[in-house]
Symmetry: C2
Subunit: 144 residues, 2 copies
């Protein structure tokens, strides 16, 4: 049940971009310095987030990265799915990337106890991460 460094760094980078949102673009070294992220790894992450349409970038001198959506419109769940894949503990309970379980001895989907309990875990995780936005994240409030 682990969050990868990639996702953790991605969230920290987006936190910085959220704090700068509307005011300025940030260069990779600014993000890297403030959040202690290895710079080349950070680039790779920012590129993925760019391809996913969350941020934009400008090359050359005076270049940098900017959020292109409102912080309140980006949830942590979205970000983690982009960087780490589905939130669900097992494929057969994922709602965004369902995969039928191979070799499960229970033919009827509803009868598998593992699936049942992992379904509730998935819902709990998604319930938190899909309602927590970058805006919440940056404002440092407690939730629930």
């Amino acid at each position: 049940m682990k969050l990868s460094k990639k996702s953790e760094y991605g969230l920290r980078a987006l936190l910085e971009l959220t704090l700068a949102h509307g005011r300025m673009t940030l260069q990779r070294h600014e993000i890297s310095d403030r959040q202690h992220i290895p710079i080349e790894f950070l680039e790779q992450i920012l590129l993925t987030l760019k391809r996913a349409g969350l941020i934009s970038s400008r090359r050359g001198a005076k270049g940098g990265y900017t959020l292109i959506k409102q912080p309140k419109d980006i949830t942590l769940g979205q970000v983690i799915r982009i960087l780490d894949g589905p939130l669900a503990p097992i494929g057969c309970v994922s709602k965004t990337a369902y995969q039928k379980c191979r070799d499960c001895p229970y033919s009827d989907k509803a009868r598998c106890p593992v699936q049942q309990v992992m379904g509730t875990v998935r819902d709990a995780i998604a319930g938190i991460l899909d309602h927590y936005t970058l805006a919440d994240f940056a404002s440092d409030r407690h939730k629930g």
Copy 2:
């Protein structure tokens, strides 16, 4: 946020042992056949569960495995921690295996947004898995 095959197989194996509990011991091939688990991998898992004190075994002809605790006294959280490690998405929010985060830019523990949200995720996961026992699991009921 993934559950390993090891934990999944471990849970399925314990499910079989729960169903047999008090009535008979099960041999590895019975568990393996019923739950479609590669037999040598299953052994490895059963050995870990034995060392953790959840099951006992008898060697030789007529040998096999038995639960040595009451199904209602074993939670899925315990089992997953034994086989996969801590439930927490990141070490610094684990209650059973806390690890200080290295290189976190926030010196004050309470101020880190990643830690805050992952703390609520950890509590949600543990809230489910630490209250769901093998007895619940085997009785196939829905929960909360």
